[in-house]
């Protein structure tokens, strides 16, 4: 219990630092979104210079002592009020994020979890039967795929499987004719069908990493005395492999898994671009290009908190899996 309390305390402090950095960094950058917005509008040759001041006022970039701004910012953040997006003015940031966050979490989150499970299982088998075909063929093949640039694999898959053969849809999260309705089986089937190719490309390019990591951990574990002891005692191969060896070999992979879960939100930009998937990774890129500070801050905060929460969950999993920690 003390362990848990300490971890939670640590994460609370980390969260506070994240909030502060989130406030400071955009304000250190040169230029501001009002200027960029005004810049774009004034290329038409008609914009009045007073428009810049009005835009500044509208977007909320008013002068004021920094500590006052900071406390206002903290209270807003804790209330969940992220302000109004600049590039999508006057839509609030929470609306912009809400529209695409769900899709990213569902697709990328699921793909990451599946990739981890498949990779870990394959790694377990590869280590148990080392020297056989799982180890000699599958592992190098997946390792090579892992080092291919993701963008390339995604575009090749899209071109040949979706555009060329027509086996999969080319874009979007569900069929354009359907109305969003989670109660309808037709809709759910469409969502799954549209998610197959993007998820497949993600899994294909990341499973190699998990497999390699797990295999190496396992090989270390397999040389331990207690594994030999368990086999000598007559326990079945499968039981030894999964319940004893794999469970211990899993621990280092879990940490990495926690990190990658946390980065699900911002990290799938290329998938979303290639498959026109309405996710938040691309929204973040567009926000950065438009210097949309409120939207950037909102998304950065989500990413930071999701990393922290994912790590907290992994820490809890550690407590369950590793008795030495309790």
């Amino acid at each position: 219990m003390r362990y848990l309390a300490r971890r939670i305390g640590f994460y609370a402090i980390a969260a506070f630092f994240a909030l502060t950095l989130n406030f400071v960094i955009p304000r250190l950058m040169p230029g501001d979104p009002a200027q960029l917005m005004f810049g774009r509008l004034s290329t038409s040759g008609q914009a009045d210079p007073r428009l810049l001041d009005s835009l500044r006022e509208i977007f909320g970039f008013v002068e004021g002592p920094l500590h006052e701004q900071y406390f206002a910012y903290l209270t807003h953040m804790l209330q969940g009020n992220f302000g109004i997006s600049v590039s999508q003015f006057p839509v609030p940031v929470t609306d912009v994020i809400a529209s695409s966050l769900g899709w990213t979490i569902r697709l990328i989150g699921l793909a990451t979890i599946l990739s981890f499970i498949i990779g870990t299982l394959l790694g377990t088998f590869a280590a148990w039967r080392r020297g056989r075909w799982t180890d000699n063929l599958v592992l190098p093949a997946l390792g090579i795929l892992n080092s291919f640039p993701y963008f390339w694999i995604a575009m090749v898959a899209l071109y040949f499987l979706a555009f060329g053969q027509g086996w999969f849809p080319m874009s979007h999260a569900y069929d354009l004719d359907l109305v969003k309705d989670w109660g309808s089986p037709e809709y759910i089937a469409s969502v799954i069908y549209h998610a197959m190719l993007p998820a497949f490309t993600i899994i294909l390019t990341s499973v190699g990493g998990w497999m390699l990591g797990m295999r190496n951990n396992m090989i270390g574990i397999l040389s331990q005395d207690y594994v030999v002891m368990a086999q000598a005692k007559g326990l079945s191969d499968r039981r030894v492999m999964l319940v004893y060896a794999a469970r211990n070999a899993l621990l280092p992979s879990l940490t990495a898994f926690g990190m990658s879960l946390g980065f699900v939100i911002g990290g799938a930009l290329l998938t979303e671009y290639v498959f026109s998937y309405p996710g938040i990774g691309l929204t973040l890129l567009q926000a950065v290009n438009a210097r949309d500070y409120p939207l950037m801050q909102g998304i950065f905060l989500m990413i930071t908190f999701s990393v922290l929460i994912a790590n907290l969950l992994i820490d809890l999993a550690y407590v369950l899996l590793d008795p030495r920690v309790r």
């Binding site: 509008l41 004034s42 007073r50 006022e57 006057p90 839509v91 969003k180 438009a290």
Partner: protein
């Protein structure tokens, strides 16, 4: 009645019946219905923002949902296409302008459109300067309702461009917007407007349908039921969808379009980039820093650029090289032949590296220190980068070619590709030496020049360059010409002034026009027809072209009664 008479009567009646049926049939033979799939600008996910006052609303908000008083069809050479207004007239002293509004126009909720709405909209702009993107307040001082269908705008100064900008105003319904607390932050989720498509159906982050306004003022139009806007994240996904026939109306850059898009379905896949119709992409040298502060240098560089290579390699032959006065086929009638002749004399706009080298030698740009590169006449080195936006592959290639051309004549130039925000910032604040950039066409040829050389575009305090006055060149003579243009409403006088401006443009080379910007536009006629084409260019077809999408959207119709998914 006698038999003959009754027979004649029957025949007359029968004839008139047939005729009336014929006219009804003739009016009604345009197939209706269907959903047109349109490609908008790239976006990750849609957010519901239909406010005509927002800096960046969803694209169809301006000039599809909300309509202007007057449209200026770019193929009409500046002639007005009256839309919500039926006419306008300046007062004798040019200090006010009166618009006559169209009667019988209804808002999509059934209320009548009239002068109250125009007056109210203007009041909103006056009260909230942040909404006045057209800069109306710089020349309009007030508005007055003369009667239900007539408004008079009073101007604060004589400004004969006023009709263009006032005509472009998009009235909003007073009965809705007067109840809104803060029009600045109102996202207008369910727009009430006069346009052909006003009903927002099925709005989700990846697609939304904009369906027809049952109360539209043009009888029988629009012929199609809905416009569907799927969210595409960039060029590549759109191009695949285009080739696959999943998009009907697009305005996209497609590489090697004949071999990729047209070849997929030569009978139905078409495009029209209007070579010569778009404003030129230009080479801008910052005329406030060396070496571009010297007109002899600018003239020489104009001869050093291989325009044909740029058009062939960077632009896939989609367009044609620009003339040194920057006016293409769209403004043919405004071209000053004397200016063209002068340009030829100076060797502008024609690739001739030997001539360029000669001119540089004569102007004193020789290699003083023997490092292989030319130097300034005072001995200082010449070394600069040409900036262009990262990711705009066609113009990045063009910049690369130009840098190579410059190096060939001994000028140490190279390319740099910052992101859009930084690139624009450099241009507008003058922190660049050389850059490629677009230019603006407007209603008249005059607008192309004014947006580059009007000294009032450069803020005296901050040095911020609005419009495309990025080269920062101006002169008291051209400023006087610009003022004179805005003070006369006589077309002949205005043409004379533009002729003089063209001469000044050729004399001083504030920028080097490279090629006319292709007006990206593709269409698929397998389901819908009535598109503007190269043979029948009744307007410019791009869905992103604010000045013409209303015309296209109210003209297209399904190819027959069954192919568009009608019931």
């Amino acid at each position: 009645m006698s038999r003959k008479l009754s027979l004649a009567l029957v025949i007359v009646l029968a004839l008139s019946l047939v005729l009336s049926v014929a006219t009804v049939v003739a009016q009604d033979d345009i197939p209706r219905g269907g959903t047109v799939v349109v490609n908008e600008s790239p976006q990750a996910a849609w957010v519901r923002n239909f406010s005509p006052f927002a800096p960046n609303p969803l694209q169809p908000t301006l000039n599809l949902i909300y309509e202007p008083l007057v449209l200026f069809n770019p193929v009409e050479g500046g002639a007005p296409t009256f839309w919500l207004a039926t006419g306008y007239e300046y007062a004798e002293d040019l200090m006010s302008i009166t618009f006559t509004l169209r009667e019988g126009v209804l808002w999509s909720d059934g209320e009548t459109f009239n002068a109250d709405d125009v007056v109210f909209t203007f009041g909103l702009l006056q009260a909230n300067p942040g909404l006045d993107r057209g800069g109306l307040m710089s020349f309009v001082s007030g508005v007055e309702k003369v009667d239900d269908y007539t408004v008079t705008f009073t101007l604060s100064r004589v400004y004969t461009q006023a009709d263009t900008y006032l005509g472009g105003m998009l009235p909003v319904p007073e009965h809705i917007w007067s109840a809104i607390e803060d029009p600045v932050t109102f996202t207008n989720d369910n727009p009430v407007s006069t346009g052909p498509f006003t009903e927002v159906v099925n709005f989700s982050e990846q697609v939304y349908d904009l369906c027809r306004n049952e109360n539209y003022w043009q009888e029988g139009r629009p012929y199609v039921d809905c416009l569907r806007y799927p969210a595409f994240t960039g060029n590549d996904p759109v191009n695949l969808a285009l080739i696959n026939g999943e998009v009907d109306w697009a305005g996209n850059f497609v590489p090697d379009i004949d071999a990729t898009f047209v070849a997929a379905d030569p009978e139905h896949h078409g495009y029209d980039f209007w070579p010569g119709g778009g404003s030129p992409w230009q080479f801008y040298g910052n005329t406030t820093v060396a070496p571009f502060d010297d007109v002899a240098f600018r003239r020489a560089m104009s001869a050093a650029i291989d325009y044909q290579a740029i058009v062939e390699i960077a632009m896939f032959d989609y367009t044609v090289p620009a003339s040194p006065i920057g006016l293409g086929s769209r403004f043919e009638t405004s071209i000053n032949p004397d200016a063209l002749a002068l340009g030829e004399e100076y060797g502008l706009g024609m690739y001739n590296p030997e001539f360029a080298a000669e001119q540089l030698d004569a102007a004193g740009y020789v290699d003083a220190d023997g490092d292989g590169w030319r130097d300034l006449p005072d001995g200082g080195p010449i070394e600069f980068t040409i900036q262009i936006v990262n990711g705009w592959t066609d113009v990045v290639t063009a910049t690369d070619i130009i840098a190579g051309n410059f190096q060939d004549v001994g000028i140490n130039a190279s390319m740099t590709t910052p992101d859009f925000g930084e690139w624009l910032n450099n241009l507008q604040n003058g922190t660049y030496v050389a850059s490629l950039g677009w230019s603006n066409y407007g209603r008249f040829a005059y607008n192309y020049f004014r947006d580059q050389i009007d000294s009032t575009l450069i803020n005296a305090e901050t040095g911020f360059a609005g419009g495309v006055a990025w080269a920062r060149w101006s002169s008291p003579e051209t400023d006087a010409l610009i003022n004179a243009y805005n003070e006369t409403a006589d077309a002949a006088e205005q043409q004379d002034i533009v002729n003089q401006i063209q001469m000044a443009f050729v004399e001083n080379v504030p920028a080097i026009p490279l090629f006319y910007g292709p007006q990206w536009y593709e269409y698929n006629s397998s389901r819908f027809v009535g598109w503007p084409t190269a043979e029948n260019r009744y307007t410019q077809g791009s869905p992103w072209a604010q000045g013409s999408r209303l015309i296209v959207a109210t003209t297209i119709h399904c190819v027959d009664d069954t192919s568009c998914g009608q019931e």
